[in-house]
Subunit: 229 residues, 4 copies
């Protein structure tokens, strides 16, 4: 299903994650500027813009790279035997690099300092549980849809993130690459670097646990797809 060599796949991962980071951060800036101080309205615009763009970039890049845009998701594919660990490492680098460039492009668009120091505090057990729930549900949605209704993956991912912006206390980062990108902005969607570290640990753990439990819940005898070459 996936075309082309590793260079094309990594380009797709970097481009897609960059677009996602620019969308998350850029729409957060725009929303806060226009919302007249109403944080709820700003989060509503931010959550709809993010979910909508996820649908689009998974449609665009899915056939090229699988459209992970997320090191925790790539890890889950490795654990399920559908991605080689070496490729997952490259994927993670492309995702993180793309996310950082996306954050910078958002700052270019809104005439801000290109690299900023995030001061937004996001910490505490409640938010960590939120990240665990958000990442676990994201991984569950991806693998369940891939198994039973693969053409629904884009919509499922967009909707689960839009919903969890509201349902989880952490606003559903659920993605180490995007979490890192959000440490170099000091706007609506920012997170302090020291808080980001814990978020990322929780995201990776939740993705791994969900991938491990998935086989039982769906009564799999063996993985249904093979790693791409």
């Amino acid at each position: 299903m996936r075309e082309g060599g590793l260079a094309r796949r990594l380009t797709a991962e970097a481009l897609g994650t960059g677009i996602l980071a620019a969308t998350v951060i850029g729409s957060g800036i725009m929303a806060e500027q226009l919302a007249g101080g109403n944080q709820g309205l700003a989060l509503l615009a931010n959550s709809l813009a993010t979910g909508a763009m996820l649908v689009v970039i998974i449609l665009i890049f899915g056939p090229v790279s699988g459209a992970h845009f997320n090191p925790a998701v790539s890890l889950a594919f490795v654990l399920r035997g559908e991605l080689q660990i070496r490729d997952a490492g490259f994927y993670a680098m492309a995702q993180i690099g793309g996310g950082l460039v996306g954050a910078i492009i958002a700052h270019v668009m809104f005439n801000m300092d290109l690299v900023q120091t995030a001061t937004h505090v996001r910490t505490g057990p409640g938010q960590w549980v939120g990240e665990a729930v958000a990442t676990g549900m994201l991984v569950l949605a991806i693998f369940a849809c891939l198994r039973h209704a693969p053409q629904q993956v884009p919509v499922a991912v967009g909707l689960v993130i839009t919903s969890n912006y509201w349902a989880t206390a952490s606003t559903s980062f659920a993605n180490p690459a995007i979490t890192i990108a959000r440490t170099i902005t000091d706007t609506f969607t920012a997170i302090r670097p020291e808080d980001a570290v814990v978020f990322i640990i929780v995201q990776i753990a939740a993705a791994a646990i969900t991938a491990a439990c998935f086989s039982w819940l769906f009564a799999e005898k063996a993985p249904i797809r093979k790693p791409a070459e």
Copy 2:
């Protein structure tokens, strides 16, 4: 279509209902905290988050358990001869248990008392009619789509609930398990236990009546699907 044994199916029902309860209650908390006192904006976020998550969890768990997440819906399947009554009892227990755990997880995420006493009054004939309409339409949407366009069930359920959050005076609980879960929170989506009892009676009656009328409207000679083993 449905895989695995009863244990897997009950796990799916408990997990899905738990996610739904956490989404309803959690997004209500977040929305009220951020909406700056505007109840309309809070309900808008709450209704969109709920509908979006319904699409996702039906996509995820549908192939495992049928994705009822709702004792009234399971009852309707029994009445149509598509679910054994014994299994419906287990389903209801899993749904209620999952919903309660979901409510507690929402409280964990937002650093609140784990079990609260709901004080939100929701009563009166207008709201009871609302629950009847909302539950009847939910059951109608499920069975009509299962019959003619089964791949549209997730979207139809998500949209009917999002819409009825606004169109019905009760904000469309339409689900005894979620109604029970909402009695142990004292936040935006709460309902007093004494009010919940009436809501649940209305929901069950409306589901049963709708299931009974369905065969005539759709000119069925016999149920089109058999109970799962």
Copy 3:
């Protein structure tokens, strides 16, 4: 594709139009009550609830009656030779009756006088052009999708109405049965009876003209479907 006799089809049209009227009026009441005086927020909730419900009721009732819920749409089917004129008359009666009952049910749910006198002024050339545009686009969307992508009719109808709530100065009534239903409410979505008369004339004219022009634009040699029995 359509099942059952005329009684079932008329029941479906009445039920669907009743649900639609209750949704339009009910969500308008709820939205205005909660929006804290912000008409834009109220219209946003009203437009999303209406569009979402349209998708649902077309999915539910489409296979039974074609899911017109709208005398202007039934007229367009007659003009294209796909509905018998006698049946269209019965359809219109079912739609108008269902819509009125739906309005009353909305009032029951919100504890209001069952039948009210609308005082909301909606008149002037700008709004009449709006109704012409809105109805023409609705008819165009229905027939184009029926021809090329029939499974997309529900989504197309929901989205065109949600969008035209904002894009047309009249907020896109586009439906004589719903327009009549909205004359017996004095809430957010009301229209004075004297204004409704002009709206309905414009709607019927726009539907007829669009149906007539459709064949040329889509280069039809002959209607592609036959009237249902």
Copy 4:
């Protein structure tokens, strides 16, 4: 796939672009009038109405003309060898003419001067980068979906524009014909003519560059579709 001769195709392009312009401008007027001074709420309504209508008009006119509604998109089809340059010129004229008529119809609906002088300043490197990103993503979404999931083009285009209304500093014009139409209004979505010139240059350049890079990313050996007759 595309029916009829050039006259039908140009009519479809003009009609579709006119509807799009009327929707963008009309929903902007309505949103600003009702939003009580909250620009964020106005943009939310404007972005949802625009994205929703894009889905509808691509569903309607796609089988007739390809549903470009956008000279930059038509240019990208030329560069990919899928549209004859002569036809692209006619397409652009139909699109620009249709867009201007759509703007005038919006003014008719809202009882405003038919042709206005835009005074809304939209300029600066940040917004130009925004237009480049928005147009590039639009072209990428169209060609990627045409290649792998053509039935998803309508949804992808609607979602990418709704999202980029928020994510790009320019609110994602991404369309020379609509940009021109927005110079003859002095309402929420207006742009000064002198600013429009730069926007259009950026849009055309971004579309051309994206079309050129597309073949590499998707490892195409040759264009997969032929120009329509």
